[in-house]
Subunit: 432 residues, 3 copies
Amino acid sequence: MNNFSSAKDSGNEMYQLARDLFPICRSITGDGVRQTLAALGAQLPGLRLHEVPSGTQVFDWTVPEEWNIRSARLLGPDGQVVVDFADHNLHVVGYSEPVDIELSLDELQEHLYSLPDQPDAIPYVTSYYKRRWGFCLTHRQREGLKPGQYRAVIDSSLEAGSLTYAELLLPGESKQEILVSSYVCHPSMGNNELSGPVVTAWLAKWLTQTKRRYSYRIVFIPETIGSITYLSKNLAAMKPVTIAGFNVSCVGDDRCYSFLPTRNGKTVADKAAKHVLKHIAPDFISYTYLDRGSDERQYNAPGVDLPVCSVMRSKYGQYPEYHTSLDNLDLISPTGLAGALNALQLCLTCLENNETLKVTVLCEPQLGKRGLYPTISSRGSAAAVANMMHMLAYCDGSRDLLSIAETIDCPMWELLDAVKNLKQHGLLEVVG
Amino acid sequence: MNNFSSAKDSGNEMYQLARDLFPICRSITGDGVRQTLAALGAQLPGLRLHEVPSGTQVFDWTVPEEWNIRSARLLGPDGQVVVDFADHNLHVVGYSEPVDIELSLDELQEHLYSLPDQPDAIPYVTSYYKRRWGFCLTHRQREGLKPGQYRAVIDSSLEAGSLTYAELLLPGESKQEILVSSYVCHPSMGNNELSGPVVTAWLAKWLTQTKRRYSYRIVFIPETIGSITYLSKNLAAMKPVTIAGFNVSCVGDDRCYSFLPTRNGKTVADKAAKHVLKHIAPDFISYTYLDRGSDERQYNAPGVDLPVCSVMRSKYGQYPEYHTSLDNLDLISPTGLAGALNALQLCLTCLENNETLKVTVLCEPQLGKRGLYPTISSRGSAAAVANMMHMLAYCDGSRDLLSIAETIDCPMWELLDAVKNLKQHGLLEVVG
Amino acid sequence: MNNFSSAKDSGNEMYQLARDLFPICRSITGDGVRQTLAALGAQLPGLRLHEVPSGTQVFDWTVPEEWNIRSARLLGPDGQVVVDFADHNLHVVGYSEPVDIELSLDELQEHLYSLPDQPDAIPYVTSYYKRRWGFCLTHRQREGLKPGQYRAVIDSSLEAGSLTYAELLLPGESKQEILVSSYVCHPSMGNNELSGPVVTAWLAKWLTQTKRRYSYRIVFIPETIGSITYLSKNLAAMKPVTIAGFNVSCVGDDRCYSFLPTRNGKTVADKAAKHVLKHIAPDFISYTYLDRGSDERQYNAPGVDLPVCSVMRSKYGQYPEYHTSLDNLDLISPTGLAGALNALQLCLTCLENNETLKVTVLCEPQLGKRGLYPTISSRGSAAAVANMMHMLAYCDGSRDLLSIAETIDCPMWELLDAVKNLKQHGLLEVVG
């Protein structure tokens, strides 16, 4: 499980899929989600779709009615089209109820959403659990609206239907599992979110081609209600076996790397993620659990307690384009996506190879006679083998390899060849 | 127990009582202590006085003879009065034995005490356990003394009597106790000490008017010998039930806030005090137990181990006027006293409301349907409810509310309304 | 065990012994080791020599053939002597096999060792476990070598023999042991290494004259193979009783103090060493276990786990003269050696006197009536007894004196008189 050299090459393919999926109007339910999951399924044989009927009780929540929208327009006093859903699906407040109404500009204002401090951005607004309708537009356009009678037409439906999600279960040598979760409910935006599902898909593709120690549970769900729904059906099975998890979101731009810990903060998932980021992006931004905002809120909730953290590029809420039409395909890039994929592959590589090792002889082994150590000793001659010697010095059966790599300040993946060598020479054995 | 808005209003009343008590000559025994306790008793119905006879063995110590003083004068070569106890009771060394003697200036010098580096201050000196007599005066005056014969007259008595202290026991819902201790042995000084007893009295008055979860033990004692005496009689009863304690001293000036921890340093008393000071006075001075110097020395002694810390304004030994006549009524102020009272009330508020809470549903509760969360989601909309959501995210039945408030960096008292609300909605329950 | 005032006086004697031993050609086996141990034995009655035959299996290693060398010369094209072992024993690669061969300068080059960046230093090179021969010389000399035929003559022997080490066992009141280990395998160098054996010898002499709570195991061994050999014979006996250990190396120069911890990092040996260095050399250099390089590698190896740390002057590998002819008698000094001896004596003094103490009375004892505390109280009067009072405040039967000394930031050895005093007054007792 250490061939991740092709990660960067995958950047272009991931970006192409993001481009294909961009126009679809996704929400927490509806045909946009199904279309998106179908496209992911084309990449991931074995991806299984599930439909959970509206009205189903999921913990403290209820699966809402299914929302679909065909068209929406706001017409001005002269009959001209002011905003049109066909131009950008952010123009309509998510979960807007159907409407066909005439009203004055004043009356209209309380159904309009814009951002005074970002006058050229269309904001992303939703109202899932209270019936509303509304249009989102740039503040510049809003300020130019003339007094008079407007007509608002939204051809949507809110009806009994279902919430749709998909999962891919990849068995490994062990029944212990790693969870990878991303979400499919955001309409036309790039970093938050199309980057999450496409990087998750490529991570899954890589996993399917790899010898796996752990089993993997990969889920594509709508945010919040989706993870709650998923957990209400699967928590009992997941809780005893989940050793780590990653919520994959905001993994598309190329400005920085970000880390958001589990609530516990000290799980092996946290350790692996921080170890990877420290070595590949030393200036990564380390957030606290107080900065959470995606599905890790559900996975880490009291009583759920799954060790799910997030390895991100620019984090939701922390970049100016967040939740607006400016978070578009220009914001994300093949290198941004590939960088995130690589980081996540390294996290899984660390977890897959994390073992508690014990040296089999007392005192230092004589590596020289095995060709693993220089036979002539002069000043500094041991530099090249220092990491191997450091590792051996800590393989006492009480620490895992990840902790040792941290202690000796060496990327864990750079120790894997030495581990293999020393195991072959019978000098290292796995404990427990 | 959250009505502490009147704390500041109490400043003037407290200052008035300090003014009334200021002229009394207090010591570790004697009628000055009794007069002081009587005045406190007028404020605190239920305050009970105790007399412990001279000679009583209290742990490693013995209650000394009772000291009373009626007058004292030092007369100069020309018969003029050099210093007079009637002018300031600091003029006589505490526990001075009676004397009426003529002696030369040279002979007199070893009975005089002054401060060369504070030439206008009368120092506060005592000799409780070795018989001495002496006069304290300003260094300026001392330097002006002319050679010749002096007459020293001290009309005091050292006789079998008793040590006097007072206690007020306020029962609460629980038999678990909080100790509040202050001392009444300092003669005419302000911050150290009349501030302690008056603030303690007002804290006690506030407690009597409040629903109490915990029981309170409020004691007014002479320092050192008093706390040792009190513990020798009450430790067995206190030790199993005391969850926190506060030694109230140096709570009168308005220059800063100070904290001195318990010996353990990590008790709930320490946590509450530091939490309060961090939020109301972020630049408070944090001392260590090595800086101790008041009755917390006895309460925290090995084998006693009561979790008693100190929340102060300017700490004893750390301000220039300390233990001199300059520590007078000008040094303390109504706002200084009121600030300390408020800090202590907040400490007790934190302790009274500190519970281990557990959210009753899995995943985040749906607060929107209960009117506790906005129903429309756009950028940053959750800011107003962030603290409530943070708190819920940590209510996992393993942390107390004080720890959670620390983690989420929010004053604990600002969470109490949310706790009440969520309990009423059945979303939070108390654990253990 | 607190008479270490003569430590500094020992500096000259130690330096003289180093001067005497300097010319001997030591290696990991051979007569040079025996000569060195004989000289140490003359200082240390009771020092016992051991011989372990070549071929003996010691953990993962095998005791090598014994090496002895009588003479060695490199002759130039004109027959002149280019380098001569008689001039400096670093001129020959340690464990060089016998040779008498003519070869061109080109062929010779691969048998020559020099340091381009230190052109006037002869490097120290060995090849214990692979047969080689070679000459070491200054780079300046090497660059002046003329083309032509050279003759290399090394009159050495590599034959079945034995590895020699010595040990001195000093019984104490307890069977618990402290290990002191140094090595005797370095040829003519000063800081690394003749300083180690001579300081160890003087430490041992001091211990023989001292009342000992602990038993001491003092060993003089060749590095690496020697400690491995010693452990293979003695680990079973040492492991249950060894409470601390010191690897004594690089203790001769006067430039700084250095500390290298045990692998565990938190043993009482580490605590004592850091406590001592903090107080006697606050700017000491604190290395980590990743900087290890001497026999602490074997003592701290997984499964061996002896708590052995190092208190040094300039650490091996960290000073420019290291492992060259520049590490000579000018680099070390009487004051350098005496400083190290003093530091190690203080470490042992701390360990010998480290007890868990408990005050025998509740609350503060009344020290005044025992003449241990001033009887008059005024501002700051308690300063002189502050450390005693601090110590008493922490003697709760749960902390050892070393931890208390750390907490109160006072050299532990400055508390020993107070401990003795308070024990005599029955106010302190030893716990457990």
